[in-house]
């Protein structure tokens, strides 16, 4: 194996990649945009549940209920519609998340020792958010109940009750970004390494320079190294860039070991480059290569546990996710960023990445032949 040949191949690849100004921009700008986007957009924190309250009772009890709701920081009462259709409109237009209807007979029922019904109308459009909002609303009603009971009884009621002290183990503030931003690192690394490798060989085919390479004593393994080393370097640089942004811009903690992170990225790259090379050997035009790459990226991305939990997926799909290197890489990333765990916990994932990477890369290499027919 001639290192001189590999060196010249790598040098050529870098020159061509960076000579084009548009290229340069995309390589730097794309990951930055992606991390900013994901970092700020992807957010499931509960805050500002928008509530509309229609108070048809207008008594001290109903006002007390409203005060209890308003007193909870998670809620934000944005309007007081006068009639049912007003409330309906607000929900229809998506202006409020929860509508609360207090019936006119609230106070009389309570005074008679009966239960007054409060209607909670929830916008079910985003069902996961809706569930949470409903749970919070029910909780506020319970708080009101307890206060009211104490008032009615006229005495301070001390009774045995549970105080739940809830703490988040890792990510104590339960910041969305701490979960998603590390995953962006994976996404960014995967996207470009896959895309660029998949078209790297095809562009040479299309311009005719591939033929020229075949005619030289270049060995397939040298060719592959010449095509992958540049993208390994670029992906690693992007990873470092994104990690720096994660830490210093988004304040995402990095509880674990950075060298381990680096190692994991290299292992992950074996898989993506293998897939990219494979795609380039089965595609004849850039368009085909790009569409095929996208076809692979989608399930890799969606089924990796990035946004949607793997535990929620049907069992068959969960098995498939074992073939997805991104899945393991994400566990490692989150383990290192959030949990601060090391190789003694993460070794199964590292093993899986190594196996997948070797198989994929070796498979791609075996398809590389120095022939054009």
């Amino acid at each position: 194996m001639s290192w001189m040949r590999i060196r010249e191949l790598v040098r050529k690849e870098f020159i061509i990649l960076f000579r084009d100004e548009k290229n340069r921009r995309v390589l730097i700008v794309a990951p930055i945009v992606q991390i900013l986007l994901f970092g700020y957009v992807v957010n499931y924190d509960i805050k500002d549940i928008r509530v509309a309250v229609m108070d048809q009772a207008r008594t001290s009890e109903s006002r007390s209920l409203i005060k209890t709701i308003a007193g909870n920081k998670t809620f934000s009462i944005t309007s007081y519609p006068e009639d049912p259709s007003g409330l309906e409109q607000l929900l229809l237009k998506g202006k409020v998340d929860i509508g609360i209807k207090i019936a006119p007979d609230m106070t009389s029922r309570i005074r008679k020792g009966r239960t007054a019904e409060i209607q909670i109308l929830a916008d079910g459009s985003m069902s996961n958010m809706a569930s949470i909002r409903i749970a919070y609303t029910v909780m506020v009603l319970d708080t009101f109940n307890q206060n009211m009971i104490k008032e009615i009884k006229g005495q301070s009621l001390d009774y045995g009750h549970i105080d739940a002290r809830i703490r988040a183990w890792y990510n104590p503030n339960m910041d969305s970004k701490n979960f998603f931003v590390p995953a962006i690192v994976a996404f960014v690394v995967m996207l470009l390494s896959l895309l660029l490798t998949s078209i790297a060989v095809i562009r040479e085919k299309e311009t005719g320079t591939l033929e020229q390479l075949i005619v030289t004593p270049l060995k397939p393994i040298e060719m592959i190294m010449g095509k992958t080393i540049p993208y390994i370097v670029i992906s690693l640089v992007q990873m470092i860039l994104v990690t720096i942004l994660a830490k210093f811009w988004f304040d995402v903690p990095i509880a674990g070991s950075l060298p381990l992170l680096f190692l994991a990225t290299c292992l992950f790259l074996m898989s993506t480059l293998g897939v990219g090379l494979f795609i380039s050997t089965v595609s004849s035009t850039q368009q085909q290569a790009m569409m095929t790459t996208f076809f692979f990226i989608l399930p890799f991305f969606m089924l990796s546990g990035f946004v949607f939990p793997i535990a929620n997926m049907p069992v068959v799909v969960q098995w498939f996710s074992y073939l997805n290197p991104l899945r393991f890489f994400l566990v490692i990333l989150r383990g290192i960023f959030l949990k601060g765990v090391g190789i003694h916990v993460l070794w199964p994932q590292f093993l899986a990445l190594t196996i997948l990477g070797t198989v994929l890369f070796a498979g791609a290499i075996s398809r590389f032949q120095k022939r054009l027919d």
Partner: protein, 377 residues
């Protein structure tokens, strides 16, 4: 505008597509797999939280609490640990995502009418999960406390009283709180962007790269005719995808439209026009297939997925980004579609969305034509 010229451009584009069957097939398979993925595999709903419990109290009362926990649909007790450290290990390894620790003296405190803390440790990594888990824990505790309160009242001979208020919950638009119902509209928006914008983004760039753009410029072909001719095949691909998605949504997932079918077609077509215009514009600007593809991912796929109120609520985003969502076409289309699917709205209620989409189309198309004319078309 000469229909025969448009025909010629259109035919060449069709031939190109047919000769590259793989891209064509992928244009249908990718959307299909998205639907199957989202319909079957992807869900944000949280239930059966795997819980590990530590009982330091070992009393009838603590066991009662644990029983109630187990009985609740929200929690699934996976194991009983001996101490908090073990809980930590379960969380570290991911075998449980919630730990509940009942301290010693729990029953004693409750019996003496005082409050007893219990420790709840959540895996805070996934905020979607932890928010829901926290909500469930709080709801569960509130319910259990109510039970405690009532038994207290009964024990002390106080009248058994009814809770003053009770929430009667009605969920609107998505009664079963199924993720699928709101996912299908968003999905269609993403699918159209893929079929309509990502594919077209390569179209003009390809001509530049192959050198055939020079030839085209020398022809008596106007920019408008070129753009229209090029768009037609992709319009049909995108529209077909819409039909497939709607059909699958209905057949496989029981997601049915509440409002007018024609409204949906009208809205979808308009959105497809926007997608086509966007894709072609990206193509003209970048002049390179690689750049066009990257640009398409950044400017069409990602925003329609993330900034359109599809999966991530806009209200949670910082104001700057919320402003951005106003220029994402998918936001308006998803509004239209969820209106049609979930809310049974009419055109008059949605005219604002239609207007914005029309405006976007006109602006994008006009920009593209300006650019092409400047280049000598």
């Amino acid at each position: 505008m000469n229909p025969r010229k448009i025909n010629a451009v259109m035919r060449k584009e069709f031939i190109h597509l047919i000769r590259d069957p793989r891209s064509l097939i992928l244009a249908f398979i990718i959307p299909l797999s998205l639907i199957l993925l989202f319909g079957y595999a992807l869900s944000l709903d949280v239930d059966n939280v795997e819980t590990v419990v530590v009982d330091y109290d070992h009393t009838a009362m603590s066991r009662d609490l644990i029983e109630h926990l187990d009985a609740s649909i929200y929690f699934q007790i996976k194991a009983y640990a001996r101490n908090a450290n073990e809980v930590g290990e379960y969380l570290d390894h991911g075998s449980a995502t919630l730990g509940i620790i009942i301290p010693p003296g729990f029953a004693r405190k409750i019996k003496s009418d005082k409050g007893s803390p219990i420790q709840v440790l959540m895996d805070g990594s996934d905020p979607n999960f932890s928010n829901m888990a926290r909500g469930y824990v709080n709801a569960f505790v509130a319910g259990y406390n109510n039970k405690l309160l009532l038994s207290f009242l009964n024990r002390n001979g106080l009248e058994r009283i009814n809770p003053p208020v009770e929430g009667r919950i009605r969920v609107w638009f998505n009664e079963d709180l199924e993720s699928r119902k709101f996912i299908i509209p968003g999905l269609i928006a993403v699918i159209i962007m893929i079929a309509g914008a990502m594919l077209t983004s390569l179209v003009i760039a390809r001509e530049y790269e192959n050198g055939t753009m020079e030839t085209i410029k020398s022809l008596p072909l106007s920019a408008l005719e070129l753009l229209v001719g090029k768009s037609v095949p992709y319009f049909f691909i995108a529209l077909t995808n819409v039909f497939i998605s709607v059909l699958l949504g209905q057949l496989l997932f029981g997601v049915v439209m509440k409002a007018s079918f024609w409204l949906m077609i009208f809205g979808s077509s308009l959105y497809i026009f926007v997608a086509l215009a966007l894709g072609l514009l990206i193509s003209t600007v970048t002049k390179s297939q690689l750049m066009a593809n990257q640009g398409a991912i950044l400017l069409t796929y990602l925003p329609s997925l993330m900034l359109s109120n599809f999966v991530f609520p806009i209200t949670n985003m910082p104001s700057v980004l919320q402003l951005f969502t106003y220029i994402v076409p998918a936001t308006y289309y998803i509004d239209i579609l969820s209106g049609i699917y979930l809310k049974d709205l009419t055109f008059t209620q949605l005219w604002g969305d239609f207007a914005v989409l029309s405006l976007m189309f006109i602006v994008l198309a006009a920009l593209n034509m300006r650019l092409l004319k400047k280049e000598g078309l």
